[in-house]
Symmetry: C2
Subunit: 198 residues, 2 copies
DNA sequence: CGTCTATTTGAATGTACTCAAAAGCGGTGG
DNA sequence: CCACCGCTTTTGAGTACATTCAAATAGACG
């Protein structure tokens, strides 16, 4: 079936893994999510803009980061295929964002507009539930990352990262992983070296 | 009105701030949440137990922490009045928990059992929504904390912590805050000293 | 092949930790 | 009221972890 390859199919399959959908719900998803192709280095959100979309990654890879007073970037999160990326804070409060969301590869996303999502929440019980579950899972992940950050050394944090995200580890430049782990690229290089000859 | 002082009133008011409740929903809350008094140092969850309750803090203060291989405790989160504390991962997956949740003061909580909450989700659209919103807010907070951890020095992290949680800063022993910030109590003491004479 | 960017190296510095010991600070009992 | 206990906080010296800055190498791509 050629429909297998449509971007929206990936999203439908994603939802079906949480809860089965009926035809009406499938149609609503197809109707409310807009496909968009994003070139490498293009931003789907910039600081001071209001985050107007909830974004599902069909293909490619994004990073969300903040830029500090010294101009340094700090990666808050990556998102690859079948993951969501959005500045929740700006999205729901309709306030200017503090973050950037940038494509690290040529990517394809499906986006739903704020107002349309709120409408879905109202019309279909299931979307409140699905998005509750999505955020709960992301919260658990983030809490685990937090734990590692307060309890482990950079060396071990890096080992855990590549163990948990083997695909990301070779897909992303090391400097980006360093930023995510909260260390400098130079130090990551030394960490790698130390791990290598053991 | 004497009902003003009932623990469940605090919870009803909490929900009303998110969405107005009707009488039926108020009754369901009163029926499904159980009041419980917890003594200082008592645990409402221990490692290897399955987290069976979602807990709302009416009065008092809790910490959630893990114990590492070296026997050190690392605080993942505090919860005071009008906050929630639960090991989401263990709660939804019904798997043994990795964390402890301990009362730091004599406390009063309202707890809902896993199965009862799932039933509420099914029967009342609004609970899916309320808990979606609760988790979204906690996710945003946690993401901000994460950002600080990967981008700021302990010194600044501590200053931000007392600025953001002035009540907690004098309610908790410094050693507990140190554990939350991911530093040793000794180093926190030095940080305080440095901040003091400026 | 040259250009651009990412990675690696090294030396010097700063940030945070360990361990051990001293000082402060409620209680509690005499 | 004081002496003592247990606990938290503070101090200090030595060490480990991580950063900065500058320069050298290595990879990717046109």
């Amino acid at each position: 079936m050629e429909t297998e390859n449509l971007p929206v199919t990936a999203l439908l399959q994603y939802f079906e893994k949480i809860f089965p959908l009926n035809n009406q719900e499938r149609e609503e998803i197809a109707k409310n999510f807009t496909e968009r192709s994003v070139k490498r280095r293009a931003m789907i959100l910039q600081q001071d803009d209001i985050c107007k979309h909830f974004t599902f990654v069909v293909k490619g890879c994004f990073k969300m980061y903040v830029v500090d007073m010294g101009g340094k970037e700090h990666n808050l999160q990556f998102a690859v295929e079948n993951d969501w990326i959005t500045d929740l804070s700006s999205f729901y409060a309709a306030e200017p964002s503090n973050v950037y969301i940038e494509a690290m590869e040529h990517s394809v996303v499906l986006q739903i507009k704020h107002d349309d999502l709120l409408e879905l929440y109202i019309k279909y019980h299931k979307f409140d539930r699905n998005f509750r579950i999505i955020v709960e899972r992301k919260y658990i992940e983030l809490q685990n990352r937090m734990l590692q950050n307060i309890s482990l050394t950079a060396n071990i944090r890096y080992i855990q990262f590549i163990k948990k995200n083997p695909h990301l580890a070779n897909r992303l430049p090391g400097s980006q992983i360093a930023s995510y782990l909260g260390i400098t690229p130079e130090f990551l290089s030394k960490v790698k070296k130390e791990i290598a000859h053991k």
